[in-house]
Every structure is written in structure tokens, then in C-alpha cells.
């Protein structure tokens, strides 16, 4: 499902990448930027946490002209005289205005790195409201956001997650550069799909989805079974020769009710015994059905 999400977010979509101190989700975010650029989309990046150089590092040169940066990294709080973008400018009007400045007919994808910065300086309801209006108002086609989930209260993280159409939670994997992604996707019909995938990100920011973690265990077992053949040293024979098979097929099994067996049972021969029962006068014969109380 991760490759599916990379291939395209729906119009009006909001994709959220959640990470923690254990694994940084920024590389996956960069993969999403690269994928959007490859789809000929115009991408606006609002970056608080890393410099422009760090973000462009690894992205291919040819598409970079469609990548627009809004620098909130050098001065997010307006401490210097000429801030490029401060966190207090994170409003619908300001963002819509900035996106329109480089107006193209092409759809615009807004990337926010990261929402944690905004959430620390604005109230969560205000941030959610801005995001929702951006998404619905048609100013941008899609929003991709990064969120450091362990920096906020659970309720704050939850309310942002509720807004998102797709949530990707990344966590470190078992091996060096592997990571585990837990994916939740809400389609417009209201159907919710969940999945878990192991992935790694290559140098050119392509995402390699390896397998689902639940399948990883199964595969390892298969490999082990191939190594050791349990039928190698048996004290009995597992296969049949043709004559043996013939003999086996001829044999009537005791539970198979053949015609001969049936007649032999129904018409007992002259030598067989019978049970005769004559009720005695003193017999204590119970009129009631003894099994009456059973629920049969």
C-alpha cells in the first residue's frame, strides 16, 4: 500500500507521516516530494526544521524548478528583522496567498516539515482548522505533513490524525536501514484500510517495499524446511509400488457398507441366535419414556 500512496494522493487528500525519535520520517517525506515532482506537480515546501539545502539534497535536478520553498527555518519566530516566514503566518489566507504567487494551472502539493513546529506555537484547534480549510478550499490539491508524534500529547496527535486521509507511522525495523510503516488509508466512501509494510529508502529516494512483516516470519520457516528434509531417514516406506497400490485398492475397508455386507446382516442365517423376552407379571414396567427429559 505504500507504493500505492507514493503513486498519487487524491485531490483534497491529506497525508500524514508520523515518526518518533527512533526513526526519522524525513527521508520518506523526501521520497513523497520526489514522487510528486515526477508526476509533474508543483510542490510548495514549508520547512521549519531543516534547511533548504538539506531538503533538496538527493532530489533530482531537472524537476527542482517546480519546487518552491518557503523558508521558516532561519527565523520561525521573527527574532531577526526580516523573517521569511514565521510560525504565526500559518493561516489560511497567508498560505493561500503564498501558493498563488507562483500560480500555475497545475495542481499544487503543499509539504509541511514539520507540523510539530506549528503545533508547538499555535493551538491545535487552530492548526486543524487551517489544515481542513486548505484542503477543502481548493487552494492546494494535496497536503503532505510530517509530525513528530512523541513530542505532543496523545489528543493533539489524534486530532491531526483524524483530519488525515492517509496516516503513515514509521518505526525502526529489525535490520540497519529497514523501517516498518503502519499505514491507514481512508477512502472517500468511508472504507478504512490498514496495512503494515517493511521498507527501505535507497540513495535516490526510491522506496523499496520489501514485504509485510507478518510474512517475513513465514518465509524464514520455509527456508529452514528446505534445508532439512523430514522424510530423509524414515524407518517405513512412504511410497507405494503398482502392485502394492492394486492390493490396497482391492481391500474393502471395514466401514464401507457393501451390498454383501448388508444382506449378510439383514437376513441372518439359520444358525444364528435370537433373544426372546416374555414380560413377567411382577415386572416393574415404567410407562413413561425414560428419555423424556432429554432435549433431542
Amino acid at each position: 500500500m505504500l507504493t500505492e500512496l507514493l503513486q498519487g494522493t487524491d485531490a483534497g487528500g491529506f497525508l500524514l507521516i508520523q515518526d518518533s525519535t527512533g526513526y526519522c520520517g524525513r527521508h520518506l517525506l523526501k521520497s513523497f516530494i520526489g514522487a510528486a515532482l515526477n508526476r509533474e506537480e508543483v510542490v510548495h515546501v514549508l520547512h521549519f526544521e531543516v534547511s533548504e539545502e538539506e531538503l533538496t539534497d538527493g532530489l533530482k535536478g531537472s524537476h527542482i524548478q517546480r519546487l518552491h520553498f518557503h523558508n521558516a527555518y532561519t527565523d520561525p519566530l521573527g527574532w531577526t528583522d526580516h523573517p521569511a516566514f514565521t510560525v504565526h503566518q500559518f493561516t489560511l489566507e497567508e498560505l493561500a496567498h503564498r501558493v498563488k504567487q507562483t500560480s500555475h494551472s497545475k495542481p499544487v502539493t503543499l509539504v509541511i516539515d514539520s507540523l510539530s513546529w506549528v503545533l508547538r506555537h499555535q493551538s491545535p484547534p487552530a492548526v486543524c482548522n487551517t489544515l481542513q480549510q486548505l484542503r477543502k478550499g481548493g487552494a492546494v490539491r494535496a497536503i503532505i505533513g510530517l509530525l513528530h508524534a512523541d513530542m505532543h500529547q496523545r489528543g493533539t496527535v489524534g486530532s491531526v490524525c483524524h483530519l488525515a486521509t492517509s496516516v503513515i507511522t514509521v518505526a525502526p525495523g529489525m535490520k540497519g536501514d529497514e523501517a516498518v510503516a503502519k499505514l491507514t488509508k481512508r477512502s472517500k466512501s468511508g472504507k478504512v484500510m490498514q496495512d503494515e509494510e517493511v521498507f527501505s529508502i535507497k540513495e535516490d529516494l526510491t522506496v523499496m517495499v520489501q514485504s509485510r512483516p507478518s510474512h517475513v516470519g513465514g518465509r524464514q520457516n520455509d527456508a529452514e524446511e528446505q534445508e532439512t528434509d523430514p522424510t530423509a531417514n524414515l524407518t517405513f516406506n512412504l511410497r507405494l509400488s503398482d502392485t502394492e497400490r492394486e492390493a490396497k485398492e482391492k481391500l474393502a475397508l471395514p466401514f464401507v457398507f457393501s451390498r454383501e455386507k448388508k444382506t449378510a446382516l439383514l437376513h441372518s442365517g439359520p444358525g444364528s441366535g435370537r433373544i426372546l423376552y416374555e414380560p413377567d407379571a411382577n415386572d416393574d414396567y415404567d410407562q413413561e419414556d425414560p428419555d423424556d427429559d432429554l432435549d433431542v
Binding site: 526519522c24 531543516v50 538539506e54 508547538r120
Partner: protein, 271 residues
């Protein structure tokens, strides 16, 4: 400067990664020896160093550095080191005197609403002045990239500004010490600025963390004289070759003039 730690971190005074944000943290232990280490390392590496010492006096740092073979007073004279003595500065803010020529750096003590903007401005101005003003005055010395060391002041916004200015613009390094008290809590539902969340936020920003932790209580009883604590080294490299985090755990013992580091459980006194 501990040579053993240098080899673990793969740095020498001659070659070290530029543009790094190093977070030093401790829990139920004391990581200040690492601050002394970085201070002497960068002074030897001929960097311009700005030290914001907010918990101890200049004499304290000076005495320890002397033992490690670096003279702070000399470095200060040469203009290599700028030392903000937080204790003195805050005193002059709280008890203003007429002869006071103190800087505006500690203004946040008087008016918390101002925030650390003034302290950041102090950082910025002193970095630019040591760079240009000094060179014009006596250009006998030329210093390498700037380094900011902060002993125990952790405010996320301030650290962000330091990183943006020093690491990204000037290609220098920042070292920050932060302390967390108490036990590690799995889920604290406190406010957003709690110490645990602060540490996590800083961890998201930095490229290298050194986390010093006290030994478990039961071990402490046996090993008090042998090992002090353990230090967890963790790299979060942001390189083109992809995400790369690496963890290493060491135990160490600080001696008079150095410190020895060893992998867990391999101290000669234990074996």
C-alpha cells in the same frame, strides 16, 4: 579532551564533522565531563568557541580545563573563546548596579515574555564580532568554524535558532547539555513543555546524542568504585546515503586526567 572518546566518535582536533548539532543529556547522573571534553576539543581544534556557562563560574571550568591541558584564560585573551558567565550576568540583572555594563543576554530573567531572543542575539553578535572585528585588530590568529557550547540551558526555540545560524549558515557545531531528572516515564500526559518532551524534541533536531545514564541500582552497589555510569552514543546521520542511525553503549570511568571507556561488562575490574 579524552582521546578514547575521540576514537569512539571518530573525531580528532584536526578533523571533525562540521555542521553537527550534538546533544548531551544525562539521567540520574552527571554528563558535565562531556562538556569539558568538547570544550577542550574545540579549543584545540582552533575553533572560535562561544561558551554559555549557566550553571558554573568561569573559574570552575577554567580549573578543570587546566587539568586537561587547555588554558581558558589564554584562549579568552586571544579572542578565541567568548565566555558568558551566566551566574554573574543573572546577578547583575536581578540586582542592577549603576556601574553595570552587562549585556542584554540574560534579559529573559527579568521579563520571561521576551523569551530568549536577546540571548540568541548575543550569540549572533558575538560570533560575528569574533569573526570579523578581531581579525582586523590583530590578525595573528585565524580561527576555524565557530562552535557554541551551552551548559544546561534547553529551550527548543533557542536551540533551533542556534542550529539554523551556527550549523547551517556558518558550518559550525553546537553542543548542548540538558538534564532530565527522575525516572524514564513511558507516558507522561503533562504539558507540552515537560522535560521528557523537551528531550525528545531536541533529539529530533540533533545529529548526535550522548546520553549518560546512571547504572541500575543493583549494579551500582557492586561497581561503585569501578564504573561510574554508562553512556549511550547515537548517531542520526543526515546524509545522502540514506537514514542511518547507529547506537553504541559504553561504560566509563573518569580518572583524574582522563576517562576510560569500554564496552558493557568488559571493565578489567569486573572480568
Amino acid at each position: 579532551m579524552y582521546t578514547e572518546l575521540n576514537s569512539i566518535l571518530n573525531t580528532t582536533p584536526d578533523s571533525f564533522t562540521k555542521g553537527e548539532f550534538i546533544l548531551v543529556s544525562d539521567r540520574q547522573s552527571d554528563a558535565s565531563f562531556l562538556v569539558h571534553h568538547f570544550l577542550s576539543l574545540y579549543l584545540r581544534a582552533r575553533c572560535r568557541v562561544l561558551f554559555l556557562g549557566l550553571v558554573q563560574s568561569f573559574n570552575h571550568y577554567s580549573a578543570i580545563s587546566q587539568r586537561m591541558g587547555v588554558s581558558l584564560a589564554q584562549a579568552k585573551e586571544k579572542g578565541q573563546l567568548v565566555f558568558l558567565e551566566g551566574l554573574n550576568e543573572s546577578l547583575s540583572v536581578l540586582i542592577p548596579q549603576e556601574t553595570d555594563t552587562g549585556s542584554q543576554a540574560m534579559d529573559f530573567l527579568r521579563d520571561p515574555s521576551v523569551g530568549l531572543k536577546s540571548l540568541y542575539e548575543f550569540v549572533r553578535s558575538s560570533l560575528s564580532s569574533t569573526g570579523e572585528g578581531r581579525e582586523g585588530a590583530d590578525d595573528t590568529e585565524e580561527w576555524g568554524p565557530p562552535v557554541v557550547l551551552v551548559d544546561d540551558l534547553t529551550v527548543l526555540d533557542f536551540s533551533h535558532y542556534c542550529r539554523a545560524t551556527v550549523c547551517s549558515q556558518l558550518q559550525g557545531n553546537v553542543v548542548m547539555l540538558t538534564r532530565c531528572d527522575g525516572e524514564e516515564e513511558e507516558e507522561d500526559e503533562g504539558d507540552d513543555e515537560g522535560p521528557e518532551r523537551l528531550l525528545k524534541g531536541l533529539t529530533h533536531q540533533c545529529s548526535l546524542t550522548l546520553h549518560v545514564r546512571g547504572l541500575p541500582y543493583w549494579l551500582l552497589h557492586f561497581l561503585r568504585d569501578v564504573i561510574e555510569v554508562q553512556v549511550e552514543v547515537r548517531w542520526r546521520r543526515r546524509q545522502a546515503d540514506g537514514q542511518y542511525t547507529q547506537n553504541k553503549l559504553f561504560q566509563y570511568k573518569v580518572h583524574d586526567k582522563g576517562a576510560s571507556f569500554f564496552a558493557r561488562g568488559t571493565s578489567s575490574a569486573v572480568l
